[in-house]
Point group: C2
Amino acid sequence: MKQVNVGLIGFGTVGKGVAKALLSKKKDLRERSGVSINLVKIADKDLRPRKGVRVPKRLLTRKVDSVIKDRSIDIVVELIGGFHPAKEIILKSLTLGKHVVTANKALLAKHGKEIFTVASRFRARIGFEASVGGGIPIINALRRGFVSNDIELIYGILNGTSNFILSRMSEEGCTFKRALKEAQAKGIAEKNPKLDIDGTDSSHKLAILALLGFGLNIKLNDIYVEGIEDLDPMDIQYARDWGYEVKLLAIAKKIGNELDLRVHPTLISSSRILASVKDENNAIFIKGDMIGESLLYGKGAGSLPTASSVVSDITEIAKNVGDFKKERSAFRLGFNSGVKKVRKINDLTTGYYIRFAAIDRPGVLSGVSNVLAKNKISIATVAQKERKKGQPVPIVMLTHDANEGRMNKALAKINRLPFITKKIVKIRIER
Amino acid sequence: MKQVNVGLIGFGTVGKGVAKALLSKKKDLRERSGVSINLVKIADKDLRPRKGVRVPKRLLTRKVDSVIKDRSIDIVVELIGGFHPAKEIILKSLTLGKHVVTANKALLAKHGKEIFTVASRFRARIGFEASVGGGIPIINALRRGFVSNDIELIYGILNGTSNFILSRMSEEGCTFKRALKEAQAKGIAEKNPKLDIDGTDSSHKLAILALLGFGLNIKLNDIYVEGIEDLDPMDIQYARDWGYEVKLLAIAKKIGNELDLRVHPTLISSSRILASVKDENNAIFIKGDMIGESLLYGKGAGSLPTASSVVSDITEIAKNVGDFKKERSAFRLGFNSGVKKVRKINDLTTGYYIRFAAIDRPGVLSGVSNVLAKNKISIATVAQKERKKGQPVPIVMLTHDANEGRMNKALAKINRLPFITKKIVKIRIER
């Protein structure tokens, strides 16, 4: 039977799950793949035993190089995350003829092109199923299952922390701060949750999906990103009243030869299946010319779900180790979709949820709607919410599709109207 | 560049979609796979042109043998459906060293073992992504993405016709007959919808999923099957009142070394994502020890979604044509899960929705609950629905988990009580 040797770099949360699976499920994996997959080395700065997994001491090393340079190792699994030395580890492994499996979305989002090019040159495979959507087999679905499709759009709920917070805010009406605390207490949010809640993490994953689905190599700065930190539970409740849920959506949408690419809180109809994605779960909704609408749902993070995807990459590569040399190129990343560039956010056309706080007096609504009308923004629904004596009244509205640039111009103007008392809230709608 | 030749047998709804994709997307598929995939023959009894796809006349033939015996053809795509001559076509193609792609769930459910064994012996691949869930990449997810998981349970909404009918009955409160008519008018249900609505089609797909997920080769007769033909819209509405939707679920659940395997209308909580699967859409919910809970959703039928899966199988096989000979075995179907046999339906433990129609007089509820208590069935909720003078009163209840055998015994006894006027309705609940 074919023997394939694996070296693991990074023995943290995911690394632990991978080690556990490779060691405890060796026999199952052998039966299912026809290959004997041997975990032969684990490199980490911290060599203390980990709870829940028993690793033979001889596997452990502090020296990353002793993994990369081990000629018996066929597959290097990079699970330390971050840019350095993760990038160097991956590039060095590839140039030494090893295949690589990684969960490093930030690195692939930023340096994917370089890494994939090197992999291709050295006829090495790089597996990254775990980089987007944890245990959800979305990369494989995009690269294989949907290979005959022209992808029209991708909506992703790609960050479990944010989705958990939004679920709490929606179901319990609590504030962002309180929901974040609950998430931290449950181990769903990190101590420093910045990259999760400000949309950065979602934008990394979106860059990878956009590369696969549309063949466009994205500069991260080209993705418009808004996080959920400033969301008021009031808006989530008002949205609910109108039959919408607020989700942090990562959106990639083909419009002619441009790609509309953005991450922001979004109102979506409660009747859509995406609106049912709750708690720390992730989901990716895809529209293709053949499949129509499809969705993949599951745990987007965590030790075992992410390890499940890492091990599936390892197994797929292991089955084919030794067969790759003859391939013209191991990488045909990205469907050629005719997309040439990222669409400017000001060119966006979408519906909006708007909330004003105004002093309660005659002429407020006519003043606001006048400015909107002049900017060709038409109101679909408007409601004045409960008055409290002496307090400004919240006025909420949904607009028909409008242009983002015009909307921003209109809102700036409205903000200067004398009876408007606070910063205006604007949340985009996907219909 | 590698050239791979494909012969298509069956030029119906799906065949048309496959031909269209292979012909019109040839360049895209070549770029994405690195292989030139050539459709060289199409066999069908009816050679008239098909709407929406232009096929060069020289490709068309009435002779199936001229496809199977064509030595230039690497992959035979069987899309005629049914048992004969589909089985003979597939077996003959495999023994002649060709790889096979099929969407034939009935055939695989009944003769899968024989077909997979022949494929393995002749080192041929057999792709069947399209046999379950149309455009949903569930087969690939089970075989590759979730390879490291011990599957605990699979819930499938596997029949679009039934799901469409149930959605209409739930949302509009209409009868089964009326909903079926609407489905037929929309081309969602066939003229003869028997196999779709009586659960047979779902049971075929369940057999395939059970083989992959649990390694158990199923006899179709071992699957307990109930269809949706007898559902009363009243029950769907009462279930809704209690926060449940009624879905035709195909269930495979591991209990020790037995597999609980059944297809029947099922109450599931409206807050579950499966309950959001509406209209003719399909979904498969999977629980594994590593991924936790996962779901794949999409179009379960139709020309293009199904063709999308067929073409993805063709493309995957095409990439590897010529590399298979050295494999010890091309097939490692089915995860060894320790499951030995199908669990008897009378051993089932589950919750139940029960509706009685009773003459409205004192002692009815005590009479019924007495019989239930004697059979160790405990009531969770009970409601007496609106009375109409002179009419029997519907009494509906949800039970806690109870044993199916005891439940049937109790219901038989209750049915003989003097104040019970109609056949009792029993629908199982999955919590």
